[in-house]
Amino acid sequence: MTAIPATARKRQRNGSSRANFADNRARGPRQSIMSRSAAMIIMGVFTLYFLTPIWWLLTTSTKTGGEITSTPPLWFTSNSLGTFLDNLGRLFAYGDGLFGRWLVNSAIYAGVGALIGTVIAAMCGYALAKYEFKGREAVFNVVLSGVLVPATALALPLFLIFSQVNLTNTMWAVFLPSLVSPFGVYLARIYAAASVPGELLEAARLDGSGEIRTFFTLSTRLMAPALVTIFLFQFVAIWNNFFLPLIMLRDQALFPVTLGLYAWNSQISQIPELRSLVIVGALVSIVPLIIAFLALQRFWSSGLGAGGVK
């Protein structure tokens, strides 16, 4: 197999579009105050729109079941911290620490699933970008069409397939389908084509590096920003995936946190004390997502920046 020098041409094209972008930015400061404040207002409105529910979640999780309805919804009560800690304690104690179990499950499904899923997507995308073989475009198109099929539509067929091999109601039932990410393959291919120069691979080959070694030591580093993006997308997608576990799992001990909270939420009319637990639980369940974003955001922006100055 030979590497293709097509990337060189592509880079030129990319280069010119970047130049346009730079021009636009240079014009930025000269824009009128009107249009800038309009932009700020729109951004402000959206920020408010997205943050208000989270703010509500934060304030409400510091209230007892009764206070939720009897106090102002967007502000704290006089004993917020105490109630919050109490709620947290009850959350992790309820049902023999079921909630902690769910968090761990979610971490396994999303963490390990996203990690392996990213590696698979990266290898697949890299192979599609850097190796020329028969049917390459056909394979890519099939993978790409996978992006268009909603995961929800696949849940029932997957359930029937997993039933055949007696894997429903096991961790595998949620874990295995989470490993594939057509969008990740697409992203990896585009990025590998743009960021891994064919000349570099040629040089590695001349130096005697095997293809696998080249991929893991050289190419993955060049593709790092894309890999972080794929990992984050995949992590969030698995963490928020709800329908597949709903269909696959019967045993509460296997639930991810989303499904567990949903199950609790559906029981509120019978067990009203769950109301405050669901709210605190929802707050706790978004913390890992926030941490993942804050921790990985660094790599993300540095990667985009690295592309920008080339």
Binding site: F159, L259, A263, Q267
Partner: protein
């Protein structure tokens, strides 16, 4: 969040459509298999699985497991029926890996029956003899009136009565209504005081069905072959017209039930009554904590002076699902679960269940006064109500669809376009269409 749930519901609708079309071909066998199959016990130790959404059920089952070494039951808890568990049952029945036992609400049982998802356990030891141990109407729900058939064991029920603010009625000098006519009069007087007599729950169509049930109405009937849909019977229309009047004159509020604003409106004293089921007692106590000690419970207002009828809202059964390899043991467990005094007491304490068993009235939990209701022995009222629920009420095989269509119509009526009667009319037509679409025979 809302949009998210909407999507999930849409997905359910789509998938249930798939599952239904897949099932209807096999529907013929169910008609032939009406006779109870012999129910043979298995040799040696048996393991059963049981899916439910009653909190604390695992501890009740623990009790059974300790006493029955040869029949060990594993409990799996999921979201409540219409939130996903029923659809999972259907999927699992199709894939042949359904749990042995499942919790199914009365209004969903006919759906499972029509799709041949239930084992007939009438032949199992002790099942038919157990009839006397259950409140009459609940037994009708699990047999569908078929001769020699029992498809589930009644678990809990929701007989209805009227919760009311004793303090406010007294302070305002308004008589506590005993008939619906008095109720409407009281509604006007309460409106004059600046409050509402109650809230009309547009999405709780099963609540409305409870009202029709009290009035002697029937929404569905099955003569063994054809389904008869009767959402627009005179009794049903009477109830609809009654509430339409209250709505038109703005005498009742229209908050979404069980929402925060709904709770708040009870908590702040804007609602004077709530005609609801026995399980509403804890809902109210939790949602309106500031009103503790001010509530009381009276029988439902009557359509006829001196009447004693009551409706029912909610309740479920323990069914043996199709494909169970140990129906005899499963039936034995289901019977124990719903009749054993110790099990009933624990299920009430942990899961808030009001048992369908007659012996419920003897349970300690229902004997004393309840603090939130100023020490009133409210469960006596519900026990009487339970005995006065019409035993012949039948649910249809597509209740989820019926609820949705009627609820949409109710929403429109509240918004000012159309009436509750129109909603029933539309619900009637759409239900007939839905039954026909699933090749379920309908008589017209």
């Amino acid at each position: 969040m809302r949009a998210h749930y909407g999507k999930v519901t849409a997905a359910f609708a789509m998938i249930s459509a798939l599952a239904l079309s897949g099932c209807s071909a096999g529907g013929d066998s169910s008609e032939a298999g009406a006779e109870a199959a012999p129910c043979e016990t298995s040799d040696g130790p048996v393991e059963l699985s049981f899916t439910t959404w009653v909190p604390g059920m695992d501890q009740v089952v623990e009790l059974w497991n300790e006493q029955n070494e040869d029949i060990q039951v594993t409990v799996q808890t999921g979201p409540n029926g219409n939130s996903g568990t029923y659809q999972n049952f259907f999927n699992q029945i199709q894939a042949g890996n359904a749990p042995d036992l499942g919790q199914i609400e009365y209004d969903a049982l006919p759906n499972f029956r029509v799709q041949d998802g239930l084992e007939n356990i009438a032949g199992c030891e002790g099942i038919t003899d157990a009839q006397d141990q259950f409140v009459d109407w609940t037994w009708g729900q699990v047999t569908f009136g078929e001769e020699g058939s029992v498809y589930a064991v009644p678990q809990d029920s929701g007989p209805m009565a009227m919760y009311y603010r004793a303090d406010l009625f007294e302070a305002a000098g308004i008589d506590v209504p005993t008939t619906w006519e008095e109720y409407a009069t009281a509604a006007e007087q309460i409106k004059a005081e600046g409050s509402y007599i109650t809230n009309f729950p547009k999405t709780d169509v099963n609540w409305f069905a409870g009202m029709v049930w009290q009035n002697g109405g029937q929404w569905f009937a099955n003569d063994g072959e054809n389904w008869d849909v009767n959402l627009t019977s005179p009794e049903s229309e009477e109830v609809a017209a009654y509430w339409q009047d209250l709505l038109s004159e703005d005498l009742v509020s229209t908050l979404p039930s069980f929402s925060d604003e709904w709770n708040a409106s009870f908590n702040e004293g804007d609602q004077w009554t709530w005609v609801s089921a026995v399980w509403g007692a804890t809902t109210l106590a939790d949602g309106a904590p500031d009103t503790a000690g001010k509530w009381a419970v009276a029988p439902m207002p009557q359509w006829e002076d001196g009447g004693q009828t009551a409706g029912n809202w909610g309740g479920s059964s323990t069914a043996v699902l199709k494909g169970s390899e140990h129906p005899a043991e499963a039936a034995k467990f289901a019977l124990w679960l719903n009749t054993d005094p110790e099990a009933l007491a624990l299920a009430n304490e942990l899961g808030g269940l009001y048992p369908a068993a007659e012996s419920a009235t003897e349970l300690e939990a229902f004997a004393g006064g309840v603090e939130f209701y100023d020490g009133q022995k409210i469960y006596d009222v519900f026990a009487d109500a339970s005995a006065n629920v019409n035993p012949d009420f039948t649910w249809g095989p597509t209740m989820t669809q019926t609820y949705t269509d009627v609820s949409d119509g109710f929403g429109a009526a509240i918004g000012g376009s159309g009436t509750l009667m129109d909603a029933l009319e539309t619900g009637q037509q759409k239900t007939i269409d839905a039954l026909k679409a699933q090749s379920i025979p309908v008589s017209e």
